[in-house]
Symmetry: C2
């Protein structure tokens, strides 16, 4: 049995549960390495992965004797098999933040046990990354840096936001990424004023500011990264905002170290925004891992003490409705002294030439 499942089983006593049903596929992957559809039952006497005909072959190929996980095809399990997994009235943990209300009612019927909320037990364990997870995130960050470096040297006259987004994705996928971590934002000119913009057929032109917000996955682990660059020339109006955003990111990453409280750090940042009369349109960042958005979210109402080896994206942004916006974002590793950037692209003013 691997260390993660052992760890989870060791929590059962303090939660007063005899077993757990893990339904969230990201948590299943974290615990088992399996990315096939299915769910995991940690029963008193065994670990069971229930999948279906589409995946049973590939699951059985991946599992070894050391995993101590038995895989079943859902169609081979009867009502009585499910009832026999736990004893009647045993306490069984479930994921109340993932399971729908309807599914919860089905669980009650299927297993005839007492279901107990587990309060993001696995998600909270996922916050602190081990060495292998950090390596995966580093690799996702490296692929992202390389794709960014490629694209800013390969935007040609007349390219649209969609085309640019597409070339970035292609570069990532052909250079080792499993997939993209989220739908990219590539915004030209006035479109940068919307923090959650969707790329359009708007063509690039001289004098444009370009906002990128991109990231990929490597072995399931995400990177998250944003930059702005300027096309052929950079107008002075951008400089003050750019410098402010960059300075805010630096202040945040210096402060977000082992033992720091997210609330205090982000409150200070919001004060800076207020002094400038800038609106805070979104959180200052978020945890990154198997999910692109993980705990902790960087908001001034989050009383959260940071742990070492937490990975977080820090992404301050300032937006002027209908005019422009600037967001700078890197994926950081929390250490004893500061948060260290895992994405490495330059944050100097970057003026690109169209090809």
């Amino acid at each position: 049995m691997n260390v993660r499942i052992k760890w989870l089983r060791n929590q059962f006593n303090s939660l007063n549960i005899d077993g757990m049903i893990v339904s969230n596929p990201v948590n299943v992957r974290y615990l088992t390495g399996l990315s096939e559809e299915g769910f995991l039952i940690l029963a008193p006497k065994e670990n069971i992965f229930v999948t279906d005909s589409r995946y049973i072959e590939s699951v059985n190929r991946k599992l070894t004797i050391d995993d101590e996980i038995i895989a079943y095809n859902v169609k081979d399990l009867s009502k009585y098999d499910y009832e026999a997994i736990f004893m009647t009235n045993e306490n069984v943990g479930f994921e109340e933040n993932y399971v729908t209300y309807e599914k919860y009612k089905n669980l009650l019927q299927t297993y005839q046990v007492n279901f107990v909320e587990t309060e993001n037990l696995i998600e909270n364990q996922r916050i602190v990354k081990d060495e292998e997870e950090i390596q995966n995130i580093r690799k996702a960050c490296e692929i992202t840096d390389n794709a960014f470096n490629y694209i800013i040297n390969n935007i040609s006259e007349g390219m649209t936001e969609k085309e640019v987004a597409f070339e970035i994705e292609k570069h990532m996928l052909l250079n080792g990424a499993d997939g993209i971590a989220f739908d990219f934002i590539v915004a030209f000119g006035e479109n940068t004023s919307m923090p959650h913009y969707v790329p359009s057929d708007r063509k690039v032109k001289k004098g444009d500011i370009i906002q990128f917000d991109i990231g990929c996955k490597y072995n399931g682990y995400c990177s998250d990264f944003s930059r702005v660059v300027f096309v052929e020339e950079m107008y002075d109006k951008y400089k003050e905002v750019y410098d402010f955003v960059l300075e805010e990111q630096k202040k945040t990453s210096s402060a977000l170290k082992l033992g720091a409280n997210v609330k205090t750090v982000i409150k200070d940042r919001e004060t800076d925004f207020k002094l400038k009369n800038y609106d805070v349109l979104h959180a200052f960042g978020h945890g990154v891992g198997l999910d692109i958005h993980e705990t902790p979210v960087l908001r001034s109402n989050k009383d959260y003490i940071l742990k070492e080896n937490t990975v977080i994206a820090i992404e301050p942004g300032v937006y002027f409705s209908g005019k422009f916006g600037i967001r700078i974002e890197d994926t950081f590793l929390v250490t004893r002294n500061e948060a260290i950037s895992l994405t490495k692209s330059s944050k100097d003013y970057t003026i690109i030439k169209l090809k």
Copy 2:
């Protein structure tokens, strides 16, 4: 107020509810046209869309007076505002198949009302498409056919499954698709034996069978489409299976007309599979619309009577573990006489030349 929200409000009486909270973003889009994050409250006296700072500007730009929907930024609503939306102990519908158990508990606390299950009320209404929805799906199908026609004429020596998948996506996005409808399957040779394969770096070679399973979105509406083609030559062993799968798809589409019971039709197909000793590894198809997988799923245990203007993907497939597989799939429109294919690509044996 648009016809869809009017329709929903007209259901309240028979469900014995005074209002409804719509949380599923696809249902919100269906009812309002809004694709921004948020949720919809149909209260006794008004329709409310609650979103956040990231989206409030674009939501307010889209809504007109005729929508009769008031948009709020979540940060401007207090505990008391929520409590004032309904009267204490009113019956309010919620989506028990979308809302998590934890969120359900929060709803109870926030609104102080009796929550009532709505049993996929909106999803069931979405099954039958109106003219505009069918046009959107037709367009998604046309973009898919065109991308398929493009790719089978543009696979070159040494291309990988990933690269081919990528070129299809690019063709779709640059020819009007909003996005892809699901992660594509492009499988070469022996990889076709896995119905839910993920594209790898395997390079194409002469004699390969290639399985495509692709689809895109247009105005939010999906297409779903699968074909196999053969590289430079087609071995005889493939012909019998190809003919069988194609014949099964034809039999299914002829039978799936207004008033047909899915159960009866698919039972007949499964008998054909059994006579040949072929395993049934997945459903014969599924509804298609704003979601790629909608009701009805085409399984022999689904007692479901088809309605006109339902859109379904029909996708029989036969797989030989470790050897090869063949699946043929089109998106169909259910009519009075049969299901008519909206994807139009040829289903003759297709042998492609590498460029």
